[in-house]
């Protein structure tokens, strides 16, 4: 990628215009998943298992089917067998087949003329269960005699003799561990536990499906990726992808949680059986019980350090559970754990095990917060024991350009040192603390992704442009994409309209995840704009009667390239567009690509807390985020991502977790007892945006959305531990857990 591209002076990129979807959202006109309706539409409802683990002996739906107003009943038997194991697992989370595997697992669904009839019909279904022993904790699930959630799902390389719940293991690292630990002056080994957190999006999962008599179907849903929804739903319904059109609604939060399906296949099957459109909207209780939270984790971490703070070796064992089905998240955790540091010797060993919990789905940097929490907590404890400054110690060990990372990649230009220096220079780091207060610092890392991307850019005859892209806008991406199109075309932001097209209108786009959209869709938009510019230069050349190669695009206009090309005044985009019908027809640009080159991103967070020593009540009093964003296309939304990730991490560190009773049932399926932070719980989250260009993007853009949830678990833990003078080894740090530590039990 040309370097001068990244040093260019931007005209639109880096400004902060209003988002194009803003007016509709603040005036209530925006259509979310539950807002979509169709003539003759039925309402769906789902019957869910009260057992964490049971065999389904029988389901009697006859009484429900006989009720007036009931138009369709669906159970697991209605869905065809699916060859693809990944899709089959997703299908089984949506509707149980032979066994129920978690509290809240769907066993049947109804479509009826009113919500009240649907709910009454659900109560009329009789299910006979044969309860089975259950397990909801990852460490217990790995014991050889643990109840087996699913049989025969372990990958081939998992050693024999373990519980069948253990489905995967992985190992990363390099160097001689033994030699590394021998050089250490201090070796500490600690065990940590991390609860499962839910993404906590405000909009419950919702969809409306309409299956027509000719075998074609339309599906409207709130999702982070309607192309993936089409792929999985068409497979589960046994239809061709082309026959299912999926349209993404506006989305009220996802954070990774809406990168799969939970209700969509059920609504489609209800619609197919009833011949009517069917809407299915989850309640909050259902969202908690039956959509995916994160993995929960148990981690052993061992680090060796010299007296002056050089890390000599790191060794970590991670045990993750993603619920009742195999999960690949362990690999990302094992890769991310030590990634911020230049390690002479490092090993991360990961295990994943099945438990009777709902199927995990991504949550912002999936797998990384749990692993990085252990590393960053332990480094802080070692700094305390050795009397070292936690920033200087991290600087001494920071990964840089050329560092062989703990997961095998050699880093290019990265921002770990710059974010640490920014934190060190921030007034927060040296501000005085009051009584019962403590300050913690922690670093974090995320890979970021690119992926399949397809963009069309159409030049309109009135001199404006329309961008058609395929990624639901979850964090202001339509604004960022419009800014990049404006920059490249040289026309104002307000002259661009970016829309998210349905699956029939554009090639495949990967999910809005992996912090990929501003990076990858932005890249494709820039390339699509360049393709349109090429057409416009050709048209100008033809009108001027000169060679196409002799025309350049400058400031939104075609100009002759140098004095030899001919003397013509600049011909603006609007002028070329106005003449387009006479010069060859409409003008458009396209770009289709599987994008590579996403730049990794680092963040450093500083957290102050005040802990009530008699009750353990913890208030975050000051919080600062420093993060490498590459080029910040829309700085306000970059800041919003950094603040939002920090807040979600603070909630996880202090209160958020799935709590299971001895009966294996979820105890806190609601926002009262699943405590996300409220506004009054938080200080202003201060931000420092560092712009270290990503060599893999024309403007230097990096993903920013996920890194900010990685440091907070340790930043808050280190602050609380320093405030109370004792170390905490479990998140969330609920007040009872803090009091137990204070009292030394």
């Amino acid at each position: 990628m040309a370097l001068d591209d990244q040093k260019r002076a931007f005209k639109y990129v880096g400004t902060t215009p209003n988002r194009p979807d803003g007016v509709d959202k603040v005036t209530g006109k925006a259509q979310y998943g539950a807002d979509i309706t169709a003539p003759g539409m039925l309402m769906g409802a789902v019957l869910r298992s009260p057992h964490p683990h049971a065999r389904i002996v029988s389901i009697d739906t006859s009484a429900a089917e006989a009720m007036p107003g009931v138009r369709a009943v669906v159970t697991g038997k209605d869905f065809p067998a699916v060859e693809d194991q990944g899709f089959a697992d997703i299908g089984e989370t949506c509707m149980a087949r032979d066994k129920v595997l978690y509290d809240g697992h769907p066993v049947a669904a109804i479509a009826a003329t009113t919500p009240a009839i649907a709910k009454a019909a659900i109560r009329a279904i009789k299910v006979e269960y044969a309860p089975l022993p259950h397990v909801t904790d990852v460490d217990e699930a790995m014991l050889p005699d643990a109840p087996v959630v699913l049989e025969g799902r372990a990958l081939e390389h998992v050693p024999a003799g373990m519980s069948q719940n253990v489905t995967n293991t992985c190992e990363f690292g390099h160097g001689d561990l033994e030699a590394g630990f021998t050089k250490a002056d201090l070796i500490l080994e600690r065990s940590f536990k991390v609860g499962a957190a839910h993404q906590g999006y405000i909009e419950p999962n919702a969809c409306m499906a309409s299956y027509a008599a000719d075998g074609r179907a339309d599906l409207y849903c709130c999702t982070q990726g309607h192309f993936f929804v089409r792929a999985v739903c068409s497979a589960l319904m046994g239809m061709e992808a082309s026959q299912l059109r999926v349209t993404a609604s506006e989305i009220g939060g996802g954070f990774g949680g809406k990168t799969t399906v939970f209700v969509e296949p059920v609504a489609l099957m209800l619609s197919k059986k009833s011949g009517r459109p069917v809407k299915l909207v989850m309640t909050r209780d259902e969202v908690f019980k039956a959509t995916g939270p994160t993995v929960h984790a148990s981690v052993d971490c061992k680090i060796g350090m010299t007296k002056d703070g050089r890390i000599t070796a790191g060794d970590m064992t991670l045990r993750y559970s993603g619920g009742a089905w195999p999960s690949g998240t362990i690999e990302m955790g094992a890769q991310a754990g030590f990634a911020a540091y230049d390690m002479p010797a490092v090993r991360t060993l990961g295990w994943t095990a099945l438990t009777n919990r709902p199927k995990e789905i991504s949550y912002r940097a999936p797998g990384a917060p749990q692993a990085v929490y252990a590393v960053e907590s332990l480094i802080d404890e070692m700094c305390q024991q050795l009397g070292l400054d936690p920033v200087e110690t991290r600087l001494k060990n920071a990964a840089r350009k050329g560092t062989l990372s703990s997961y095998g990649v050699t880093f290019d230009d990265i921002g770990m040192v710059a974010t640490l220096e920014a934190a060190k220079a921030h007034p927060h780091w040296s501000a005085p603390l009051g009584p019962n207060q403590g300050r913690g610092i922690a670093a974090g890392f995320w890979f970021n992704f690119g992926g399949n991307t397809c963009v069309s850019l159409n030049i309109n005859a009135d001199g404006t442009a329309s961008v058609t892209e395929g990624n639901p806008d979850i964090g202001g991406s339509r604004a960022s994409i419009s800014l990049m199109a404006a920059e490249e075309l040289g026309i104002p932001y307000d002259n661009i309209r970016t829309i998210v097209a349905d699956t029939a209108s554009l090639g495949y786009n990967d999910n809005t995840d992996g912090s990929r959209v501003t990076f990858a869709v932005g890249l494709a938009t820039i390339k699509a704009a360049r393709a349109a510019i090429k057409v416009m230069c050709d048209r100008a050349a033809a009108m001027w009667g000169i060679d196409a190669e002799a025309v350049e695009w400058i400031d939104g206009a075609a100009v002759p390239a140098g004095p030899n090309a001919g003397k013509f005044p600049p011909m603006s985009l609007a002028e070329i567009a106005a003449m387009s019908f006479q010069t060859g027809g409409p003008i458009a640009g396209h770009h289709e690509v599987n994008v590579d080159g996403a730049g990794v991103s680092f963040g450093v967070h500083i957290c102050d807390v005040e802990v009530d020593p008699e009750t353990g009540h913890t208030l975050v009093t000051r919080y600062t985020v420093a993060q490498d964003a590459g080029k910040a296309v829309h700085p306000t939304y970059v800041e919003g991502q950094m603040q939002g990730g920090a807040v979600q991490g603070i909630g996880w560190a202090l209160n958020e977790e799935y709590i299971y009773g001895r009966d294996g049932r979820l105890q806190n399926a609601g926002f009262l007892d699943y405590r996300i932070p409220v506004a009054s719980d938080l200080p202003k989250i201060d931000t420092v945006i560092l712009e270290i260009p990503n060599p893999g993007h024309p403007y230097g853009v990096r993903g920013v959305g996920e890194t900010p949830i990685v440091p907070p678990l340790a930043a808050v833990t280190n602050a609380v531990s320093r405030a109370i003078g004792k170390r905490m080894y479990q998140v969330p740090m609920s007040p009872p857990r803090i009091m137990t530590t204070i009292k030394g039990k």
């Binding site: 309640t283 202090l654 105890q667 405590r675 007040p735």
Partner: protein
């Protein structure tokens, strides 16, 4: 489900008594409507009591205050008389839910909902408040402390409704305070709570006191207040009060807190609420 608006307390009572199925009273609706929409209850009859004359009024009575059963808690906060006399009662009532919820919810509803964690109840019990109960067998006046029977249960008979809460006359040099523990800062439910009401002599010695604890037993409980009576709330008295509070705790272990945590926190809150009430009684801000 049938819905009716009662014009008198007697009409409400008869309708509730005559309903063979599940009957519920609607005042602020902040519990009822949530339970209805969540499908937790499916009542056959809902009786709205807000149209009963006087039920939405606060009136002076025998030196104290009569608070109609449908008076919203936010109205208490804006009533200078009630707020001056019983600041602890008013602050407890206005910790419930959000600002929007406080504009609808009532202390009587909070009491009759029967939650051991009800924020309005410990303050009323510490104040030794009473309620008027209208029922099929007539009208009776009962101490607030005698209404709760356990989680979700009250001592009210079928057809009985609370129509008013009576706060007694405030004694000279007296005041009250309420504190609850929640993991967050608002929009939450008490893990432990304490209300303290006390009266001082001219030299600042405590002459009377009541200490009520919430969320630490199946229903609101009184702690032994003799631990602070006759003292000027010195450290020894405060330590004795905390111990007395811990002694009456009989909490459950659940997702919100352990037995040990709830017990020790109740002691801390009783001690801290006593200090606030004491300073208020002395006129110290």
């Amino acid at each position: 489900m049938r819905y009716m608006t009662a014009e008198t307390a007697e009409a409400a009572s008869s309708a509730l008594a005559a309903e063979p199925g599940l009957a519920r009273v609607l005042a602020g609706g902040t519990d009822l409507l949530v339970q209805l929409k969540a499908g937790m209850i499916r009542p056959d009859l809902v009786v709205d009591i807000k149209k009963i004359p006087g039920i939405r009024e606060i009136t002076a009575e025998n030196g104290g205050w009569r608070i109609g059963a449908a008076v919203a808690n936010a109205e208490l906060k804006e009533h200078p008389g009630v707020k001056a006399d019983w600041p602890g009662v008013v602050e407890g009532a206005n910790l419930i839910g959000s600002t929007q919820v406080q504009g609808r919810c009532t202390m009587a509803g909070n009491l009759c909902n029967g939650s051991p964690a009800a924020d309005a109840v410990p303050g009323l019990v510490a104040a030794d408040a009473s309620v008027t109960v209208v029922g099929p067998s007539g009208t009776r006046v009962v101490k607030v402390a005698d209404i709760p029977a356990g989680p979700g249960r009250t001592t009210l008979a079928k057809g009985e409704i609370v129509t008013a809460i009576h706060l007694p006359a405030k004694a000279a040099r007296s005041s009250d305070a309420y504190l609850r523990f929640i993991p967050r800062t608002e929009m939450d439910i008490a893990v432990a709570a304490a209300a303290v009401s006390l009266t001082l002599s001219e030299d600042g010695t405590i002459t009377a006191a009541r200490v009520a604890l919430g969320a630490v037993a199946p229903k609101v409980v009184l702690a032994d207040a003799s631990t602070i009576i006759g003292t000027k709330l010195d450290d020894a008295a405060l330590a004795a009060l905390a111990k007395a509070a811990e002694a009456v705790c009989n909490p459950i272990d659940d997702k919100r807190g352990t037995i040990e945590f709830r017990t020790s926190t109740a002691g801390v809150l009783a001690r801290r609420a006593a200090v606030i009430a004491y300073n208020r009684a002395k006129g110290v801000k």
